[in-house]
């Protein structure tokens, strides 16, 4: 008889393997791989005289390998321990988990895009450059802005780009030494203050009003000759349209500052309203959110930045230039006001293909409809839950996401976290929790436009049922959750206190 596999200890219940039918326990690669195993047929190199200058490796690397069938099984089994948008509703507020069309994957893999080197002669990449030009046209039209930087590699990288343009513009005016403050509302994404600080700005917080929005008066109060920019998200992270956006932009401009808009929530208004029309100077567009390139377990994203006329001269290299029939990339900043380069090559081409394919499939008409449906779905969820859950800023129209807080859980012994974990047992990915920070025990739900009404109805019914159970005192269902996930609640404190960040031969586990 075989011994039980080493990774199964005595605590593991019932089955010999520790598996439960389709739910397999999967060891680490380092526990099942062998340094002499390989799943790739690489030709044996001929005899030759190496020219490595004496710098060849002396020691073994210690990297295990797997044959192709073993590797396939290892990663398929691991994949099944993940929730995904293809498997169910993913209501993460501010993250925008919508359907990822597979047509886009197919197109991004065409050899003319995927098998293209960034430094090929320009004459050999005209189709790729035309694609970038077309995408730029769509994004500029949707935003009514004057220039675009395609190269930023994620939303936060786009923020950095926009703020670099602003810092350069301030410096060009000779005010680099004096304008060193950035205004940021309390409810902002964490990336905003981090971005501002990275560039040496100090952050001044703008308080929010009782209704969850930012008042022009509050901005006015915080403005001064030391302010370089305001960073504001619209629609904001409470799921609300900033009603005084026009007045805010005017106040910012009047004070000689720039208006940076965090474009994370552009999917609520694309095709319906244009940021350029409310006075935005710079805004990043999360292609992975708004135009649905897959999130891939945390990336890659893409964060092109649109710029107003005032900031356009400072855009980073490379940028496109058309000369009649041919396109070229301007790759050097010399002789321009460009702030320079922020990544080695031209940005996330693979994401450009997917985003443009998504845009062409939707058309201008479909983009507007998608935004409206996203807003409709969020309001439908709000209207269907408002009698059982509480909203921090009262019951009012929301944009593409709806914010609840934990006031309604008071006295139940159930926290926002417990409630979220109970959703897992019901087969849902939890909503965004504890963000934005301005709401106590926040629960931010973003259903997106790609959910059917039946899907929304089941989600709503599930949340209503959970809410009822919480209020009826069934706290154990929540504090013990999840019971049916691949893992019960994970000890995050232990992980942070005694960090184990890699596998080691000497100490294979905790």
């Amino acid at each position: 008889m075989l011994d039980r596999p080493a990774h199964i200890d005595d605590e593991t219940p019932e089955t010999f393997t520790g598996n439960r039918a389709l739910d397999h326990e999967e060891p680490l690669l380092f526990e099942i791989g062998r340094t002499d195993a390989t799943g790739v047929d690489v030709e044996e190199p001929p005899q030759f005289a190496a020219r490595l200058g004496g710098l060849e490796r002396k020691d073994r690397i210690g990297l295990p390998g797997l044959s192709e069938p073993e590797a396939m099984r290892h990663y398929v089994r691991l994949s099944r321990k993940n929730y995904s948008i293809d498997a169910g509703l993913y209501p993460l507020g501010s993250c925008t988990m919508k359907h990822n069309p597979r047509a886009n994957e197919k197109l991004a893999r065409l050899e003319g895009f995927a098998d293209l080197h960034p430094l090929q002669p320009m004459s050999s990449v005209q189709g790729a450059l035309e694609l970038m030009e077309t995408l730029a046209h769509w994004l500029l039209t949707l935003t009514n802005m004057q220039a675009i930087a395609l190269s930023p590699k994620a939303g936060a990288h786009g923020e950095l780009c926009g703020m670099m343009a602003i810092k350069s513009a301030v410096a060009a005016r000779g005010e680099g030494a004096t304008r060193n403050v950035v205004l940021i509302p309390q409810s902002a994404h964490g990336t905003n203050p981090a971005t501002a600080a990275l560039l040496g700005f100090s952050v001044r917080v703008v308080p929010g009003a009782d209704d969850g929005t930012v008042r022009a008066a509050a901005v006015q109060e915080a403005l001064g000759p030391d302010v370089a920019a305001l960073m504001l998200t619209n629609p904001n992270t409470c799921g609300l349209f900033e009603r005084e956006i026009v007045e805010i932009a005017e106040a910012v401009h009047e004070a000689g500052a720039y208006f940076y808009c965090d474009g994370a929530n552009f999917n609520a208004i694309a095709g319906v309203a244009r940021p350029g029309d409310f006075g935005v100077d710079a805004m990043h567009i999360n292609l992975h959110k708004t135009f649905s390139t897959p999130h891939g377990g945390g990336g890659p994203g893409a964060g092109p930045v649109v710029l107003s006329e005032r900031l356009a001269p400072f855009a980073p290299v490379p940028f496109l230039r058309r000369n009649g029939e041919t396109l070229a990339l301007v790759e050097h900043a010399e002789g321009t006001q460009s702030f320079g380069r922020m990544t080695a090559f031209h940005g996330q081409m693979g994401m450009f293909v997917r985003a443009l394919a998504y845009l062409l499939a939707h058309g201008g008409d479909g983009v507007a409809q998608a935004s409206k449906d996203a807003v409709l779905s969020a309001n439908y969820v709000r209207a269907s839950l408002r009698d059982v859950m509480t909203q921090p800023f009262g019951d009012r129209l929301c944009m593409h996401e709806v914010l609840f807080d934990d006031a309604w859980l008071k006295g139940t012994g159930v926290s926002t976290l417990d409630f979220a974990k109970a959703m897992i047992d019901e087969g849902y990915h939890p909503m965004t929790i504890y963000f934005p920070l301005v709401a106590h025990g926040a629960m931010l739900i973003e259903p997106t436009e790609s959910e059917s009404k039946a899907s929304l109805d089941l989600f709503i019914a599930t949340l209503r049922d959970l809410a009822k159970r919480a209020k009826e005192g069934d706290a154990k269902r929540f504090t013990q959750a999840p019971r049916f996930a691949p893992r019960r609640r994970v000890d995050e404190t232990l992980a942070a206190r005694k960090p184990v960040l890699r596998w080691c031969a000497e100490s294979p586990s905790l």
Partner: protein, 446 residues
């Protein structure tokens, strides 16, 4: 519109539940002046077939690398990626999941990130690695910022052998963050004296190996000089496959190792998405930027993985965070991990040797061509040629003959007076016939 499941009847019912008449009424908070009155001047929606036709036409206007004898490197490398890698990363559960904020239902992503971190640490010879950065260039800039935080100094010394685009990325962020960066003049032969420039004001020295011109560098002396002056050594690589054959930076005393992981598991993609690798010593973990997956246990005591040390991150620390990074390169890191799992040590070592063998074979052929010199004493799979005349013109002439010959150094360093230099790379994907075609085209174009 095939991506939108709601019917008009659904919309009507939902609006009734909400208590408004039209979807447009939901935008009541937006000032009327900001709402579009007319549809934008953009094309109407298209069928999947129509979209495919547009893209296949655009694709056909490009010369795909695999169609021609191909020798371009300079920071992005063409390797064969096994079909199973692309199949696995297209599994819905990997492709369409989000950042693993809920560890109980994200163990697939978290365990693969833990495997990725371990593989990167082993390859680079370092203690720990993060769960990926955007690419090698941004990872290099983040390494410099991290060195500033650790040493409380704000001056970076950058080797003239660093990829010029990487140096520009570092310089851009330094200038705007009001730090100082000194970039040495282009170091074609890999013989600059960077040690002489290190003093007590320098936070870090940034050196690449194999360097931009292909030279291999022994970092030991530089590391010693750095440490003598309280500075850190940031070692950079742009070709991860080279680590299969070369002494890793960790064994030469590097404090932070950063590089580009594209060449394992990821296509060229015209420059992105790529995957940045970032590794360092245990002591510096809390200043490391970006995401980390760590091991823990669940309520039943079973081994589990979770994103950890997030108290360094922007969503907790706001303006005191170690970086502003939120999204990283999760899926590209997964592709890297799967490809490296398939290779294993045995496969990677052989692949690296084959790359070197092909490059040596090409160099030997080129050394026999009149008016062409190979400048490097040592190299991995890329080296620098000095040619007679202008390398950029030569590359265009060879492209016209159907050979993508390499990168003229002047494309990246236009003002350096290096117009006669050509970078040439040869991976396992170039054959004996490709090399012969290269030499023929070169001889016919000089």
């Amino acid at each position: 519109m095939r991506y939108l499941p709601l019917s008009d009847a659904d919309r009507k019912t939902m609006l009734a539940t909400i208590g408004v008449d039209r979807i447009e009424d939901l935008y009541a908070d937006a000032p009327a002046s900001t709402l579009l009155k007319e549809p934008l001047d953009l094309p109407r929606h298209k069928s999947e077939f129509e979209v495919e036709r547009i893209f296949s036409r655009l694709s056909a206007r490009n010369t795909a690398a695999g169609r021609v004898p191909f020798f371009i490197g300079a920071g992005a490398y063409r390797h064969h990626v096994p079909a199973s890698v692309d199949h696995l990363i297209q599994r819905s559960e990997f492709l369409t999941s989000y950042t693993p904020y809920q560890p109980e239902i994200s163990q697939g992503t978290l365990q693969t990130l833990f495997e990725f971190q371990t593989q990167v640490a082993l390859l680079t010879g370092m203690d720990v690695a993060n769960a990926s950065m955007y690419d090698g260039s941004t990872a290099t800039a983040e390494a410099v910022l991290m060195a500033h935080r650790l040493t409380k100094r704000r001056k970076a010394l950058v080797s003239g052998g660093l990829h010029p685009h990487y140096a520009e990325v570092v310089q851009t962020i330094s200038r705007l963050a009001e730090d100082e960066t000194i970039v040495m003049t282009p170091d074609v032969l890999g013989d600059e004296d960077i040690v002489a420039k290190i003093d007590e004001t320098v936070s870090c020295v940034v050196v690449q190996t194999p360097d931009f011109f292909g030279n291999l560098r022994d970092l030991t002396t530089i590391a010693e000089a750095c440490h003598r002056h309280g500075a850190l050594l940031v070692a950079v690589f742009t070709e991860a496959v080279s680590l299969g054959l070369l002494t890793p930076p960790g064994a030469m005393g590097a404090d932070i190792v950063v590089g580009e992981g594209q060449s394992i598991g990821n296509a060229l993609n015209f420059g992105g998405p790529y995957v940045g690798l970032f590794a360092t010593r245990h002591d510096y973990v809390r200043q490391m930027p970006g995401r980390l997956a760590g091991e823990s246990v669940d309520a039943d005591g079973r081994r589990s993985f979770v994103l950890t040390l997030s108290t360094r991150e922007q969503h907790i620390r706001r303006d005191k965070a170690t970086s502003n990074i939120c999204t990283n390169s999760g899926l590209c890191a997964l592709a890297f991990t799967i490809h490296l799992t398939l290779l294993g040590e045995a496969g990677l070592t052989r692949l690296a040797k084959l790359n070197h063998a092909n490059a040596v074979a090409l160099a030997e052929m080129l050394e026999r061509v009149p008016n062409v010199d190979v400048l490097n004493n040592s190299f991995f799979n890329e080296f620098t040629l000095r040619v007679k005349g202008d390398a950029a013109t030569l590359v265009e002439r060879m492209a016209a003959k159907g050979v993508l010959a390499g990168v003229p150094v002047s494309r990246l360093l236009p003002k350096a007076g290096l117009d006669d230099l050509l970078l040439v790379a040869s991976s396992e994907t170039s054959t004996q016939e490709d090399r012969a075609a290269f030499v023929t085209a070169l001889e016919g174009s000089l």
